[in-house]
């Protein structure tokens, strides 16, 4: 509604008042008309009676001249059409219109009293009023006076105009007063509406007139209720933004703490990377040099001990590398993209084949397996799982390694299957734990960190990993990664 309350009320009331006034005016005019008609009739009645009684003497004496004069004199007003006297059989004795004398008009018989009849005269409607001229019981004649029904004198009288003007004036003044009154009532509502509309929570601006707040009635109640409601809202908002500020600060604190912790960890790893490796190199290298340069001076036991020193150093390097990788995997920021896992599998297997060209391995790599994730981390996963498949199938004459995709609705699933040593499924809980191994060092070398790293990567990528294995027959590792956008 684009019109305000005042406008709507004003228009409605104006229409109602106008309608009422119109009806009143019409009623008045009709009433006036009726009255006029009645008075006309009454006048005609008296005229016809006058004619009847005045004509009695002349009728008896048959004084037609006198009768003629009477008939003419009785119709003074413009709207009278004619007057005549006629016998009971309708024979016209005398008529204001000379032509009609001695003619026969409608026989009205011997009337006892007034009779009123409509007729036409020169194509105009007339009202005829009959009155009997009687002396005692003797009926002499009927006196008739006729007046025009369609005479416009009513409006000549100007009564209609007067009434209309009066009505209009009343209407206008009533309207004026009404509009003023309703304005008085709608004004507070409009002002309250305006205040409410101007209330802006963002700018914390709201103002309601004291006059409104103190007023009686519904507007007052509304104003006060609104004011208290807005006040409470503003307070609540202030509280909320305050809490928001606090929360933001806390989050910032936590984030910087975390960033700090992460940085420390990074520095630590960097230090490990350098500082542990240097003495390690010394141990490994010098023990080897001793073997090379002075090996002939040692007996078998001595050589054995030297070799153990050397091997431990080597193992330690592998362990350091694996542990650094494990830690890096948790810290690194993810860069997610579509990654072609088939290509990665091929590269890894190519490298492994190059390093051990004498092994007989049957490879079955499905092409075009593409999943969504962090490329670097997925390479680590593939290296570890495929590396394991390669390692644990080394004792078989012909190792079989398969890389393929499993169709699944919600995610990208691939598997790596080998026909190697496998393991007992009842130990599966240890599989992804750090440093836990299901085979001895002598059987298959390893640090026990590889699958722990894989487990961490998968959980970071919000994927799933599970295994199916049988001792002596091999193992199949399944990995599911969520599709992009999930």
């Amino acid at each position: 509604m684009s019109l305000g309350l005042f406008a709507r009320l004003g228009i409605t009331l104006s229409l109602v008042l106008s309608l009422a006034m119109l009806i009143l005016g019409a009623v008045l005019i009709i009433d006036a008309e009726q009255r006029f008609k009645t008075s006309q009739l009454k006048h005609a009645n008296s005229q016809s009676r006058t004619l009847a009684e005045a004509s009695l003497d002349a009728l008896v004496t048959a004084d037609y001249e006198l009768l003629e004069r009477w008939v003419v004199s009785v119709i003074p007003e413009k709207y009278y059409a004619y007057a005549y006297l006629a016998k009971s059989n309708g024979q016209v004795l005398t008529h204001s219109d000379n032509i009609m004398v001695a003619r026969y008009l409608d026989a009205m018989g011997e009337l006892e009293n007034y009779k009123v009849r409509e007729n036409t005269y020169h194509n105009r409607p007339v009202m005829e009023v009959f009155y009997p001229a009687r002396i005692g019981d003797t009926h002499l004649a009927n006196a008739v006076v006729a007046y025009y029904l369609d005479e416009e004198t009513f409006f000549d009288g100007g009564i209609a105009i007067k009434i209309t003007l009066l009505i209009l004036l009343s209407l206008l003044s009533l309207l004026g007063v009404t509009l003023v009154i309703i304005r008085k009532f709608t004004d507070p509502i409009s002002r309250l509406t305006g205040s409410i509309r101007d209330t802006s929570i963002d700018n914390k601006h709201f103002h309601i007139d004291d006059k409104l707040l103190n007023s009686w009635g519904e507007v007052g109640v509304l104003s006060r209720a609104f004011e208290s409601m807005i006040k409470r809202l503003f307070d609540a908002f202030k509280e909320l933004s305050h809490k928001e500020e606090e929360l933001k600060k806390k989050v910032e604190e936590r984030t910087s703490e975390l960033a700090g912790a992460n940085k420390e960890l990074q520095a630590f790893c960097s230090a490990v990377s350098h500082d542990l490796r240097s003495p390690l190199r010394a141990i490994s290298s010098f023990s080897q040099i001793v073997v090379e340069e002075y090996g002939d001076k040692f007996d078998d036991e001595g050589m054995d001990y030297l070799n153990r020193i050397h091997n431990s150093a080597t193992k330690m390097e592998v362990l350091i590398n694996d542990m650094l990788q494990l830690s890096r995997v948790s810290r690194q920021e993810l860069e997610l993209e579509e990654v072609d896992l088939s290509l990665i599998a091929e590269e890894i297997l190519q490298r492994l084949t190059y390093l051990e060209p004498d092994r007989k391995v049957e490879l079955n790599i499905e092409n075009g397996i593409v999943c969504y994730g962090d490329r670097g981390l997925l390479i680590i996963v593939m290296e570890n799982i495929i590396g394991n498949a390669w390692k644990y199938s080394s004792k078989k004459d012909v190792a079989k390694i398969q890389f393929g995709q499993k169709q699944q609705k919600d995610g990208c699933t691939f598997y790596i299957k080998d026909n190697g040593a496998g393991f007992d499924m009842k130990h599966i809980s240890k599989l992804f734990e750090e440093f836990k191994r299901l085979h001895g060092e002598a059987e298959f070398p390893g640090t026990g960190v590889g699958l722990a790293t894989v487990g961490r990567v998968i959980s970071r990528l919000k994927g799933k990993i599970w295994v199916d294995a049988e001792v002596g027959k091999g193992a199949t590792f399944y990995v599911t990664l969520p599709k992009a956008g999930l």
Binding site: S273, H274, P279, R281, A282, S285, F286, Q288, T314
Partner: protein, 162 residues
Amino acid sequence: MLLCQKRACNGYQNAGEKMKHFILLVEDNPDDEALTLRAFKKNNILNEIAVVRDGQEALDFLFCEGAYAERDKKSNPQIILLDINLPKLDGLEVLRQLRANESTSIIPAIIITTSDEQSDLISGYKLGANSYVRKPIEFDAFMDAIKQLGMYWLVLNQHPDN
């Protein structure tokens, strides 16, 4: 006023003499230094090797300042083997200053380091290293690496004379 390690330079100590085709080794770890020198020897790489122990010493040597003020300015090493983790100034800083200076800007610099941090790798190349090699733990692998380095940088690779 030592110009370089006695052992490595075969007794060379004189300021005025030109040392052609010598290698500058910037290494703080005495074990690694010993291993590197042994690796060169075992691979029959007979170039003279000058050793400096920290970043500042490296720059002093190259720019003939401080303790090396008397060194012949025109005599630059054929290659520089640079570790990253050094006391005083680290290897990357040495590299930066090396490349900034006209007289030393084109000396091939090979970073040999334990670090496998990507950031070090990227910084090394950005600052103008010619090569980046990780020090292997295994001495065999180290020997092999030195052999390949020697073959490439001292024999195969072409470089303008000083």
